[in-house]
Amino acid sequence: MNNEQFEPVIIGFTCNWCSYRAADLAGTARVKYPPNVRLIRLMCSGRIDPTFVLQAFAGGADGVLITGCHPGECHYLEQNLKALRRTMLLQRTVAQFGIEPERVRLVWASAAEGVYLANAITEMVEEIRALGPLNWPQVAALNGKSHVLTPAIASVVVSEELVEAAI
């Protein structure tokens, strides 16, 4: 670790219809936000498998942003309510792993809310920056817990960057 400002890595999940388009709009409108977030496009926020989020943490992300259409506006009726339920469950689950629940955040953004989404990203980056790096595998190891959730994660753990970080 050096003295430079900590730059968190945040993985963001977007749905194809609203929040991805909000991100597009933020771009078209040239609204600026920090480059710490990397987005994955899904068809709907209902596609979010809790494992994706845990994988992201295990793989080195410091925060996960889940985004979707506003309640009542999901293009697949109301699958975003399932995302809401899963997020709440996830926040409770990660807390038990010793991860601050604030590292999982849910934001509704309509296709018109580019500025709003950009602001939400900026806010989250600041918040995670304040929380500091996650270093989950090391934390888990310190607590004597196994951080191996699935074989896929095990392969992540031996990746060089994390081994380096662990030293």
Binding site: G27, T28, K32, D49, C74
Partner: protein, 667 residues
Amino acid sequence: MPQERIGVYVCHCGSNIAGTVDVEELTAWAGEALRHRGVVVARDYKFMCSSLGQDLIAKDIKEDALTRVVVAACSPHLHEATFRKACADAGMNPYLCELVSIREQVSWVHTDKAAATAKAKAVISGGVERVIHHAPLEPMSVPINPATLVVGGGIAGIQAAMEIADSGFHVYLVEREPSIGGHMAQFDKTFPTLDCAACILTPKMVSIGSHPHITLLTYSEVEQVDGYVGNFNVTVRKKASYVNSDLCTGCSVCEEKCPKSVIDPVFEAGLGYRKAIYRSFPQAVPKFPVIDADNCIYFDTGKCKACEIHCEAGAIDFEQEDQILELNVGNIILATGYDLFDARRETQYGYGRLANVFTSLEFERLTNAAGPTNGNIVLRDGETTPKSVGIIHCVGSRDRKFNNYCSVICCMQSLKFAHLVKERTGAEVFNFYIDMRTAYKEYDEFYQRVLSEGVHFIRGRVAEVTDVSNTPEEEDKLVIQIEDTRIGRQRRIPVDMVILSAALEPRHDSDEVAHQFGISCSVNGWFIEKHPKLDPVATMTEGIYIAGCAQGPKDIPSTVTQGAAAAARVLGRIQQKEMALEPIRAEVTEALCSGCRICNNLCPYTAIVFDEAKEVSVINAALCQGCGTCVAACPSNAISGTQFSNEQVMAQLHGLLMLNIMEPVVS
């Protein structure tokens, strides 16, 4: 997994990307760092989407035997189709091409060149990892049944049905009430031209009733919808009317002879009576009456049968039962219209408590020559002509307590009422408005005409309508209390009659209807269109279209426009005969499915059914719209989605986190 041969193409987008991202470095990096992941060629170009840029990709696909393509450029919503097509033209399956956005998500939103370039690397790495797991897909082709279902026989449904039937294709028109016509049939005059509603509507209704390509199912409702675009199976319940339509001549003697009168809450808006055997109105289409069994004396006591005795045609049939009809159609248009806001909810205006407060629909019946007063504008006593009338705009609209939205038609409808009162009674007329919204062809001209007729306009929101008088001239009057915002003073205006221009609201059952047809409602309850500007009559569900006030408040011209537009969309589909569906679908692997059925109720399109024999869940590919909810929920990992499988998402995640940079893809 055999090593793929991947091409990476970085677009400069002029300076749009190249201005903030070091595209040369990015390209060189992709070619080097991702070589062990299968990247065999990485190129950058000024405008990748131009034909020269596309040629570049096509040439590599052919000469370098590429098996995958990643384009780093603008949003997939802009150019995914372009690059897929370029790949397909060069002989590669289009779904093996992935477009990642380094413009909307990188160069346009970030400023620091080094940081932006670093992020662009992660984005490309994610795309490369993901594309490795893509599989070649073929669009599914489904045949289109040329028959169409139209639900709702208001002016929107009438227009849509007519356009399709006139083109020679069959239409089933399902209407809940005994007659088609909808709200328009209740009106006397229509703004802004004041043509008589019946004169322009009834000929259309008659054409519907006699059209060789239209099956008119009135007094009917849709019970169930199965299937998918091109091939819907619809179950319709045709309620027993107790009148045999093969024999009935529509003479209406039965109506005359029926001894039981009931208040008609639908067509007469509660202002008039109908019989227990009735047609909604004399020009009803179809012309056959129905017996309202709940109010019929015979059904209640077993005695009466006056209608049967007097029917010369012998058409009355007390034994008739509901009929269940199965229809096969390729497309569906929903034109179920609106309900009027229940003005009793705005308690301070006294509707339902103060006799001479009327709703807008009641007033329509009052002015209608065929209405309960033969068109005489009189007070609730049925005799007295009002000397002064107050018309209150925006009742239940633009009001946070009820509906935030503007009901669009109320200003014009209130102006129409003001004109009619003036013309027919000479009474003093006061319009109470918040803003005057008369934006459409000839609408403001109409406003000016009403202004010149001496109608008073008072700006503000009415606080109260009361029968408590403060002064002798307020005695026996309804007093309208308002802050006149143009002079900044409280005023009390005594009138004989008050008309409430009530909001248009979504049908009370719009949620259930939306659910039945697999579409959604906005927060306010209106059916949601596919795109508010560019696709206003399609929905997110293929093969389901919406038209008229079911989509949102609007006047008759816009309603008719949407009816015709929905018909045009359906006709386009019918002409295609078949249609290709995006192959973004979920699939159950039988061997992994434990039969827990967790997924069965999750699917918003009821695409998942349980195969009792095999004890596994099965997804109907044509119904599935690819949301992926079931994939995420299946505890056995038995469901996978083309284009969004666990492997694809995980791989992209790992790519974005640059975890696999040092690891070659193992075979």
